[in-house]
């Protein structure tokens, strides 16, 4: 390769090639022969489009364009934010992809821009799906001009640019401030924090709505200046909302902040911080084995110099690590006598604690399961439905956790389950399921219960939610019937949740909702304990039938 290239200029040809390839890799399904189709992504797009159509119905509720756009913008930012939290770390700092492109003559600015744009592209795909119907439904809002769909498109696009720019900026800034060794740990907590901000931030919007005068958010509220969805809603209103003159002093600054920050963050991230990004990428090459090999070599050399044999060290029983103390190990052996189930429990527990990819997919979502109890705690007057919402959300947690634990970049390692003598996946499934319950569901339930007990004086909700709680362990078995469950066995392709899992989540949520309502109703009419008794008998029977069904499934060979 010849020719001097400006190391600071973005190479457009390389940029195009990178964008095409990154998009294909992130969205393509995997097959041994032939091209996979991004079925998971297509399914997500459809789901978001349906959600958007439902949300867009607020346009018919006596709203103005600003209120409409703020609510839709809040939903879009939540979805964009959560999607970016899940994807950004892998997209920006993938060691595997660095092995492929790191030794090619691509400058850091081009590489960073390609990755940032692909992050933006995937996010736009989801937010635009969400806003497809509302773009047109918004025409029913007060003051909407005929070109509102175009204005809405512009505002949602800028919102996505802002979100992507902010995420990339923060990540790359982190590379400047934090050393290589601590980067992963700090980035993990940062992602969790960002998710919490997105989820709780979204909860602010319903509290801004003044129901006394129709269904309105007043642009004059001073702290709307701190709310990103309001900035872009202001822009949309200015473009196509026919705002009253009195609103202009409030809308103009908000719109200016939105546009300014979106562009400024993108510029800062790509132009000013690309050098730091390059240094972080270089450090990716220092990792596997470098330090471990040096340590090993130094130790071996020291032992030879001292005349000591390596044997005594190796002959000593290797110390236990991983799942914990001897007491915990004994308890585990008692509670999980099946060695395969116990091994799978340990595998899942280790990955939930240590693997960055699993943590990034799992922990940010915890915020969404705790949002209602926390809001009830902060604002008890508005927390009346928190127990109902909490139990419905918690019912989906085992299924969501099991799905997350199914995915890993190290999916090839799961072949071990296929050449080990396992007649079926039942023991493996139960081990992972129990780890999901112990380390995710139970803590969420306990924290929710404590917060609600402290927040709400009326404790009758406890009994109302009991029927749903009784069903939860049985609901967690659903994944075991939906095919061969093997942990860490599929590649984390974007949008890969699968129709089955989304339906499972919906079904469990509906069942939990129905049982909680039934519990509340039964309490009011005096047949509560009869309901509980009948449910316990039915659920026990269902539970054992499901266990038998799962155990009867044979592990099918690959086709």
């Amino acid at each position: 390769m010849t020719g001097a290239r400006d190391p600071e200029r973005v190479d457009r040809a390389q940029l195009g090639a990178l964008l095409r390839t990154i998009f294909r890799v992130r969205t393509r399904g995997r097959r041994t022969f032939g091209r996979g189709r991004p079925r998971g992504l297509i399914f997500l797009v459809v789901i978001y489009a349906v959600m958007g159509a439902l949300a867009g119905a607020i346009a018919f509720l006596d709203v103005d364009v600003f209120t409409f756009a703020t609510i839709l913008g809040g939903m879009s930012l939540l979805i964009a934010g959560m999607s970016m939290v899940a994807e950004s770390s892998q997209l920006l700092f993938s060691a595997q992809e660095h092995d492929i492109v790191g030794h090619r003559p691509i400058n850091a600015r081009t590489l960073l821009l390609a990755r940032a744009l692909s992050l933006l592209g995937l996010t736009l795909l989801l937010t635009l799906s969400l806003n497809l119907a509302p773009m047109f439904m918004g025409l029913a809002a007060h003051g909407a001009e005929p070109w509102l769909p175009l204005a809405h498109l512009v505002s949602i696009t800028l919102l996505s640019v802002f979100a992507a720019g902010a995420v990339v900026f923060v990540y790359v800034l982190l590379t400047r401030l934090i050393g290589r060794e601590r980067f992963d740990a700090v980035a993990s907590w940062l992602q969790l924090g960002v998710s919490v901000v997105f989820i709780f931030g979204y909860q602010i919007i319903p509290r801004l709505i003044d129901r006394a005068h129709g269904f309105r958010i007043a642009p004059a509220l001073p702290w709307l200046l701190l709310l990103p969805p309001a900035w872009f809603a202001a822009l949309e209103t200015l473009l196509a909302g026919r705002p009253p003159a009195a609103w202009l002093p409030h809308l103009l600054p908000m719109a200016a902040i939105g546009i300014g920050l979106a562009l400024a963050l993108a510029y800062a991230a790509i132009v000013r911080l690309s050098g730091d990004y390059a240094r972080r990428l270089a450090s990716l090459s220092e990792a596997p084995g470098g330090k471990a090999e040096r340590d090993g070599a130094e130790r071996a050399s020291a032992e030879r110099a001292g005349g000591a044999s390596a044997e005594p060290a190796a002959a000593a029983a290797p110390r236990r690590s991983g799942a914990g103390s001897a007491g915990f190990a004994r308890a585990l052996r008692t509670l999980l006598p099946d060695p395969v189930e116990r091994a799978s429990f340990r595998l899942a527990a280790a990955y939930m604690r240590r693997d960055r990819d699993v943590r990034m997919r799992l922990y940010p979502s915890l915020a969404s399961y705790l949002v209602f109890p926390i809001i009830a705690f902060v604002d008890p007057a508005k927390g009346a439905f928190a127990p109902l919402a909490s139990v419905v959300m918690a019912s989906m947690l085992p299924t969501a956790t099991l799905m997350t634990l199914k995915m890993s970049p190290q999916f090839a390692a799961a072949d071990v389950f296929r050449y080990a003598p396992l007649s079926g996946t039942a023991s493996v499934f139960h081990g992972v399921r129990k780890a999901a319950i112990v380390f995710m569901t139970l803590p969420v339930l306990v924290i929710s219960a404590v917060l609600l007990l402290l927040a709400l004086h009326d404790r009758s909700w406890l009994l109302a939610t009991l029927p749903a709680v009784i069903l939860m362990p049985t609901l967690s078995l659903a994944d075991g019937l939906a095919g061969d469950y093997l942990p860490l066995s599929i590649a984390p392709v974007t949008g890969r949740q699968g129709a089955v899992n989304v339906w499972l989540n919906l079904m469990t949520a509906l069942l939990a909702l129905g049982l909680t309502v039934a519990g509340w109703y039964a309490r009011r009419h005096g047949w509560y304990w009869g309901l509980i008794g009948a449910e316990v008998v039915l659920v026990a029977g269902l539970h054992f039938a499901l266990l038998r069904g799962i155990r009867a499934r044979k592990l099918a060979p690959l086709e």
Binding site: P288, G290, K291, A315, A316, P339, V340, A412, Y419, A556
Partner: protein, 256 residues
């Protein structure tokens, strides 16, 4: 003993393996060779019970791979080419986990793991404290090999086992598999490093485009083809024509 009868595997219109028939007696150390995409890994995956054949039969130690896959899996060990591991685990955790899949008790597993750790020179600290994401390729490969032998299988399939191993480890490994074969284990050794195969294996099977093209001891193959080395035998049987001339032409084109 491994027996294949017209074993075939098709993916849609594509035939990966086309009716392989052969027998490998117990205790034999066999090299399985073929160019990329020849069907070696597919064949091995069928013999380990991971992949269902499209047609034909195969038996490993008397167990049918289709109707008795569990029995097959109990007696085989497999070192896949990918060398993939659950990297968030330490080596000890991973090996203990694998042992549990074969219903080996933790105490028994630890004893065996210690032996392998001594053999491969993996120190205690590395084994128990470091996650395998911090291991070099060679260290990971040692763990993969150990995991394939923990349950004392009667048949072992090695697919590119020397990937990432340094010269000392590779020498140890070659000695190991020769010893394993002497103990009566059947070893199927898949590799592109032909001089190793030539020195270590008592028999070589060459597959090309899913079919068997050569099968026999190395001296017999050399005599049959009139070639001086296994590499040239391989080239004669599997390469496209005028390979050397084409390579020279390509190198000239690059420098223009």
């Amino acid at each position: 003993m491994i027996r294949l009868e017209n074993l075939a595997k098709r993916y849609g219109a594509q035939e990966a393996v086309k009716g392989l028939t052969l027998e490998i007696p117990s205790g034999q150390l066999v090299g399985l060779l073929g160019p990329n995409g020849a069907g070696k890994s597919t064949t091995i995956r069928m013999l380990t019970g991971m992949l269902a054949p499209t047609s034909g039969r195969a038996e490993v130690e008397g167990f049918d791979v289709v109707t008795q896959p569990l029995e097959v899996k109990r007696v085989v060990g497999y070192v896949p080419e990918s060398g993939a591991l659950f990297e968030a685990l330490t080596a000890l955790e991973y090996l203990t986990f694998v042992a549990a899949l074969y219903h080996i008790s933790e105490d028994a597993a630890r004893g065996r793991i210690q032996q392998f750790a001594r053999f491969f020179d993996l120190d205690d600290e590395t084994l128990t404290k470091k996650p395998m994401s911090a291991y070099s390729k060679g260290m990971r490969q040692k763990v993969v090999i150990t995991s394939a032998l923990l349950h004392n299988p009667r048949v072992v399939f090695f697919d590119e086992p020397l990937n990432g191993l340094d010269a000392n480890a590779a020498l140890s490994f070659k000695t190991l598999i020769t010893s394993l074969a002497r103990e009566g284990k059947t070893i199927v050794y898949c590799s592109h490093i032909l001089d190793v195969v030539e020195r270590v294996c008592e028999r070589v099977i060459i597959i090309h485009e899913g079919r068997l093209v050569a099968d026999g001891p190395v001296p017999a193959l050399l005599a049959q083809t009139g070639e001086p080395s296994l590499e040239r035998v391989f080239n004669q049987l599997t390469a496209t024509e005028n390979l050397l001339a084409r390579a020279e032409e390509f190198a000239r084109a690059l420098s223009q």
